[in-house]
């Protein structure tokens, strides 16, 4: 599974949103449940799904699909 598909699944699972609504352009404002608490839940889910440990600064800025994909590409 490529990074985008995996990320799509994590976002859908965390926010209970249909996977097809999540595109490579999706950002935090596009999904109602992606609020500050939802964001932390997503970060914790990503840590597990991609085997990462995120630091506070990364958590604060990974607020869109493009930003997360870019981070994963260099991680």
């Amino acid at each position: 599974m490529d990074n985008f598909s995996k990320l799509q699944e994590m976002i859908a699972l965390t926010f209970g949103a249909p996977a097809h609504e999540i595109t490579p352009e999706t950002a935090r404002d596009d999904i109602a449940a992606w609020d500050s608490v939802g964001h932390l839940n997503l970060m914790l889910a990503l840590e597990d799904a991609f085997g990462l440990t995120l630091d506070i600064e990364d958590m604060a800025r990974l607020t869109s699909v493009p930003a997360i994909l870019e981070y994963l590409a260099v991680a």
Binding site: L13, L44, A45, D48, A49, I56, M59, A60
Partner: protein, 613 residues
């Protein structure tokens, strides 16, 4: 045993929530957040029946990140959860008229507080406090007043938690040596809290989350990133453990209580098969693997100390098993520890029925422990309602196989609970005597029973509430009450809360019968009448009713109304009212004009001395 990922994968393939629970037992593996969400989604699709549950949360730190855990854990325990989170930091504000909490009417309310909410100085450092005792007293006073305010206005259970300290003691290793030890400072406070709750705040419980930190270790329990950026203290593992622990309260409030552990013998109480390996060959003693079985037996004795009964159910020759119980040098559980014993070649479901009957408890009050796949499956199929725990095949995992089961927790421990095991041993003697007595009348007369009736006695409120929650068979209306409800009735002049204790030549059976009566003018309504199954068949109910009717007549009551609401369990009392001279007025209600009252036989009834309120 299977690895954690395999068990989690299994749980996602299950067809019922009980199967999912089994797949994750014993000792729940830590699930990652995506797994928790997947498991919750899976459980939500299953056709299990779910009971509605309303939980409220009051907090002085962020708790929203517990939400996925609440969803998953409540589904695992069979609940359809509605969660109310009060605004961050709102405590007494939530008791103002029109506040969300009061309108929500929660069944269980959790308080997530920090120590420094009780007293600002508790934020630390606490080691050098010059006035430790005064700070402790002020903190206790503040907390007691806060909880009393909630208790007064809020229905249901209240559960207090305090955020464990996330750092090691201020004095480091020396804390253990210090006169002003921080660890002891806080454990003194915890003891003070427990005492205040026990003594004056019914249905308010303190849950010590320090146990979670001890189980996981501070490094695993907390997540500093989330604490410093979002005021949420716990790691995913910590959050999961906290919620699993706190979910015990709804389970204890709303699900059948386990009252008896039914234990297999071979490969459960000891390693090997007594019929084949013999006394010398079975594994039981100080060396592995015998040490694991010994450790399990010790855990079982501890569970008995919580008021749970133990029963033995084994396919064996009785003599072989008895020899181990009586003569094996390392066997801890002896004959007298078992309230009932079935060692024979009958199918286990038949024996479980017989044990439930002998102990006068429902089948759903049994928890069955057996190492065999076959026996566990047969019991699951033929005895729905019986909880089944398969004893792990690996001896090392056996001692912990009953950990973390909410149904084995207790919310209070009365003297009756502590004495229960001995009482049942006495009852066995009693049944032997019954077999030799000539007639039932002779037998009952030989018991020399004495009944003490008490009214509106606050000291007994906990036990009375417990009986309303646990009694299923001899219970005319099966209404469940909390301790707080009972105290309210006791204080209400239009209600009468009566109880009785029964003693006989075998000992004191403790508080075993309850009646709640509502008075209105010259009429009395029996809201609740119940009796513990321990003393069924001795005419105690008739003696109790006769005494109550006499008391009501003295208070100017002319007519008494009683009700019978049938349930799956209380058939035995379906003709209680007609048998005692009441006339049916509709399907559920019966009435009696007070005149001659039925007479108590074989029981001397005494009123407990006045001035007990």
């Amino acid at each position: 045993m299977k690895s954690s990922p395999d068990r989690i994968a299994d749980a996602l393939q299950t067809t019922s929530r009980v199967e999912a629970l089994d797949a994750l037992s014993p000792r729940r593996p830590t699930l990652a957040l995506p797994e928790i969400n997947r498991l919750a989604a899976h459980l939500r699709e299953l056709p299990d029946e779910r009971h509605p549950l309303k939980i409220a949360i009051l907090r002085t730190y962020t708790t929203e990140l517990l939400a996925p855990h609440w969803s998953c854990e409540s589904l695992l325990q069979g609940f359809e959860l509605t969660l109310y989170q009060a605004p961050y930091g709102a405590l007494l504000q939530e008791l103002q008229p029109g506040a969300g909490l009061l309108e929500f009417t929660p069944e269980v309310t959790y308080l997530f507080l920090r120590w420094e909410d009780l007293h600002p100085r508790l934020a630390g450092p606490v080691t050098a406090l010059p006035d430790r005792a005064a700070v402790q007293a002020e903190a206790l006073e503040y907390l007691t007043n806060l909880l009393a305010a909630f208790r007064e206005k809020l229905p249901g259970l209240l559960v207090l938690t305090l955020l464990p300290r996330m750092t090691p003691p201020e004095l480091g290793m020396f804390d253990a040596m210090a006169e002003d030890s921080e660890t002891i400072f806080f454990s003194d406070l915890k003891r003070g809290i427990a005492r205040r709750l026990r003594d004056g705040l019914p249905s308010v419980y303190f849950n010590d989350l320090d146990e979670v930190a001890a189980d996981l270790g501070r490094a695993q329990c907390f997540d500093a990133r989330l604490w410093h950026t979002a005021r949420f203290p716990f790691s995913v593992a910590g959050a999961q453990a906290v919620v699993a622990r706190l979910m015990s309260y709804p389970v204890l409030l709303k699900c059948p209580r386990v009252k008896c552990l039914v234990l297999d013998a071979d490969n459960t109480l000891w390693g090997g098969i007594i019929g084949e390996d013999g006394m010398e060959g079975i594994r039981l003693g100080p060396d592995y693997p015998g040490s694991a079985y010994l450790a399990f037996q010790r855990r079982l004795l501890a569970l008995q100390g919580r008021g749970l009964l133990l029963a033995l159910c084994s396919k064996n020759n009785q003599a072989d098993v008895l020899e181990v119980l009586r003569a094996h040098p390392h066997q801890l559980l002896r004959e007298e520890h078992f309230a009932a014993t079935r060692v024979n070649w009958e199918p286990k479901p038949v024996n479980l029925q017989a044990i439930a009957q002998e102990l006068n408890i429902g089948l759903d009050a049994l928890l069955f422990v057996d190492d065999s796949d076959f026996e566990c499956e047969v019991v699951r199929r033929q005895c729905p309602g019986v909880m089944v725990v398969q004893a792990p095949g690996t001896p090392l995992e056996l001692p912990e196989c009953l950990d973390g089961i909410p149904q084995l927790e207790v919310l209070q421990l009365t003297d009756e609970d502590r004495r229960r095991a001995t009482l049942y041993a006495g009852r066995r003697k009693d049944q032997q005597l019954k077999a030799t007595a000539v007639s039932l009348d002779d037998y009952l007369a030989s018991l020399e029973m004495v009944m003490h009736v008490g009214l509106d006695d606050h000291r007994q409120a906990a036990r009375i509430a417990q009986l309303t929650q646990k009694t299923n068979q001899f219970n005319l209306t099966t209404r469940r009450y909390t301790e707080a409800d009972i105290i309210r009735c006791m204080d209400d002049p239009n209600w009468l809360v009566a109880h009785f204790r029964l003693a006989d030549i075998f000992g004191d059976h403790g508080l075993v019968g309850v009646a709640l009566i509502r008075l209105e003018g010259e009429t009395a309504e029996v809201d609740t009448l119940l009796m513990s199954c321990r003393i069924i068949g001795r005419g105690a109910e008739t003696a109790f009713l006769a005494h109550l009717l006499g008391h009501l007549a003295q208070r100017g009551i002319r007519s008494v109304r009683g009700y019978y609401y049938p349930t799956a369990k209380n058939v035995m009392v379906n003709s209680f009212w007609p048998q005692h001279g009441f006339t049916a007025i509709d399907e559920a209600a019966y009435e009696l004009e007070l005149g001659a009252v039925p007479e108590a036989r074989f029981i001397r009834v005494e009123t407990e001395e006045a001035g007990i309120r």
